[in-house]
């Protein structure tokens, strides 16, 4: 795997009044990495995503994507530079079909979003890419059904297809299999596993089976701080991580204090 760093956070801090949701987070994601971000509820994973995607502005610290400082860019500008996310709770365009949705996203990604004088169907390359994505995400047979009428698993697939249509360099997957019924799960896991190798993926997930089968690198977040980082093997045998996941509140705090004291 390439050692080149695609996404890098340096000393990221986010304070809400007196509460520090993100505390001095430093994180590097290499090109093509399958990087998992784990941590108990309230660890600050969502805040970190919002900082990365530009929904929130950091109190301190910088975020660089492909060497460019994007810390102060608006969300849609970060998307154009390749920082794309999916949502834990589906955020879809209910009245559109998957075909219309993907045609829109591909058009937008190719800089045609402001084009008002031509039909969205006028660009063959857009339809071609939309078709590829529909096939890749097993959405071809429901391509012309309204999104609001799709089965949950299909909507989940569309959620990821939309993100991939944005041609991400870094893809933030926020609990991709959350709430997917067992019968539709396999299809989803396959597509997640088959994501393009050159796209770096930052996966936020509670499902440890998925995390350990998918990730080649893991970061453990606790109370807004990076507890530790390493390969899945290292994380699995890390005593601090075990304490955080299995232990009581006191032990968590001790583990965190131990890390902060370092």
């Amino acid at each position: 795997m390439s050692q080149e760093i695609v996404l890098s956070c340096r000393g990221l801090v986010k304070k809400f009044g007196g509460i520090t949701a993100t505390n001095n987070v430093t994180l590097d994601v290499r090109r093509g990495a399958r990087h998992a971000l784990i941590g108990p509820n309230g660890a600050g994973k969502t805040t970190l995503i919002n900082l990365l995607t530009g929904v929130l502005e950091p109190t301190a610290g910088t975020i660089t994507l492909e060497g460019e400082d994007i810390s102060r860019l608006a969300p849609h500008q970060r998307v154009r530079r390749g920082m794309v996310r999916t949502f834990q709770i589906n955020q879809l365009f209910a009245s559109m079909t998957p075909l219309e949705t993907l045609a829109l996203v591909v058009s937008q990604q190719r800089g045609l979003g402001a084009r008002w004088w031509k039909s969205i169907a006028s660009e063959p390359a857009v339809a071609e890419r939309a078709q590829q994505l529909l096939e890749q995400f097993h959405l071809a047979e429901v391509a012309t059904q309204k999104t609001e009428h799709l089965a949950y698993g299909k909507r989940r697939l569309l959620e990821i297809a939309i993100a991939l249509a944005c041609e991400p360099r870094v893809l933030l997957l926020d609990e991709p299999v959350a709430g997917v019924p067992a019968g539709e799960r396999e299809e989803l896991l396959q597509t997640v596993a088959a994501l393009p190798a050159d796209v770096s993926v930052l996966l936020i997930e509670h499902d440890m089976d998925l995390v350990f089968s998918f990730a080649d690198r893991m970061t453990v977040l606790v109370n807004g701080t990076v507890l530790t980082e390493g390969t899945p093997d290292e994380i699995e045998h890390n005593e601090d991580v075990k304490a955080v996941y299995l232990g009581h509140g006191d032990e968590i705090n001790e583990a965190v204090q131990a890390v902060e004291a370092r």
């Binding site: 995607t53 608006a74 969300p75 849609h76 998307v79 154009r80 794309v84 996310r85 949502f87 955020q91 879809l92 365009f93 209910a94 009245s95 559109m96 075909l99 219309e100 045609a103 829109l104 996203v105 058009s107 937008q108 990604q109 045609l112 979003g113 402001a114 084009r115 008002w116 004088w117 031509k118 039909s119 969205i120 169907a121 063959p124 339809a127 071609e128 939309a130 078709q131 529909l134 096939e135 071809a140 391509a143 012309t144 939309i162 993100a163 249509a165 944005c166």
Partner: protein, 322 residues
């Protein structure tokens, strides 16, 4: 498996002209000749239909709720009146000036609707319309106050067609305007730009997350809609030869929203259909019960909402269970 070309044609399907559409437009353009006695009414309907279509662009396609759309209608109406009175009586130039000025007002006003929810937008749009109404009322040296601007002399359209009392030229003038803006709006809503508007309407958060510059889009469509509303207002002034405070009134904002709701939002024919239904009901009812016609409109709306538009248009399904 569908090929890309097939998918393209599926996407094109929404934008394709259907036979009934040609028939509707042909019928509409034949009407002033067939029933010349109704030409004035046809003109009136075409004006509000254009106005309603403009509202649908922001309400139905972009999800911006506005209870003050008359601000742009009235602004266009006054702009056309002042231009005819002080600069030149040429209607085409006056129309273009009114459209341009209304669009500029729309661009400026769009900052008030960028943020906020439906409720806050309802309030700020209403507020803008009320401010303009009050300005038109107070600045009587300019706007004639409560009297409005009356007895305007409007030159013949293209130097040839004089707006007569029978309303025939007026109805063709306005319907041509309606058709032109309909064609433009149709191109817009089927374009990638139009798709980004629907994306904003359906899910603003996700629209942002796929790289749509939401604010730029809202400003753009609000400007366009304001320009079209201004065109409707200008058509009102130019074909009637006067303008009054009524053009900016709350009633006008509320009526146009009713029309769009009656005809169906997010559908370009919705505004037109709503305008026809509203005006015809108004005309028929006000002949029967001049004082209480609003009661019947209200009753109609309640029935429409309870029964649903689809079912109301299909009486043969009334016996069946929903």
């Amino acid at each position: 498996m569908s090929t890309p070309a097939e998918l393209q044609s599926i996407l094109l399907r929404n934008a394709r002209w259907r036979p009934w559409e040609f028939a509707v437009w042909a019928l509409a353009f034949a009407l002033p000749l067939v029933t010349p006695s109704h030409a004035l009414m046809i003109n009136e309907i075409a004006i509000v239909a254009l106005f309603a279509m403009s509202l649908d662009l922001i309400l139905g396609y972009t999800g911006i709720v506005s209870l003050g759309h008359a601000a742009f209608f009235g602004f266009g109406a006054y702009a056309a009146a002042l231009f005819a009175k002080h600069v030149m009586p040429e209607p085409t130039v006056g129309l273009l000036v009114a459209i341009g000025l209304s669009a500029v007002l729309g661009a400026i006003a769009s900052v008030t609707i960028l943020r906020g929810t439906d409720l806050t937008r309802l309030m700020v749009t209403l507020g803008l319309a009320l401010i303009l109404l009050e300005l038109a009322n107070k600045l009587d040296w300019l706007t004639g106050g409560t009297d409005g601007i009356q007895g305007l002399t409007i030159a013949p359209v293209l130097g040839r067609f004089e707006f007569g009392l029978d309303g025939q030229v007026a109805s063709y003038f306005t319907m041509t305007l309606l058709l032109v803006f309909f064609l433009i709006a149709r191109v817009i809503v089927n374009s990638p730009f139009g798709a980004t508007l629907k994306a904003i309407r359906d899910n603003k958060l996700r629209a942002m997350a796929i790289g749509v510059p939401v604010h730029a889009r809202l400003i753009a469509i609000y400007t366009v809609a304001a320009g079209i509303a201004g065109a409707a207002g200008a058509a009102f002034t130019l074909t009637s030869g006067y303008v009054s405070l009524e053009a900016l009134s709350f009633d006008r904002s509320a009526d146009v929203m009713l029309m769009v709701v009656i005809g169906g939002i997010g559908w370009l024919y919705g505004g037109i259909l709503g305008a026809v239904v509203f005006k015809v009901i108004q005309d028929v009812l006000s002949q029967i019960t001049p004082q209480y016609w609003m009661f019947w409109i209200g009753l109609f709306l309640v029935v429409l909402v309870l029964v649903g538009r689809d079912r109301l248009l299909r009486p043969w399904t009334w016996g069946r269970k929903a």
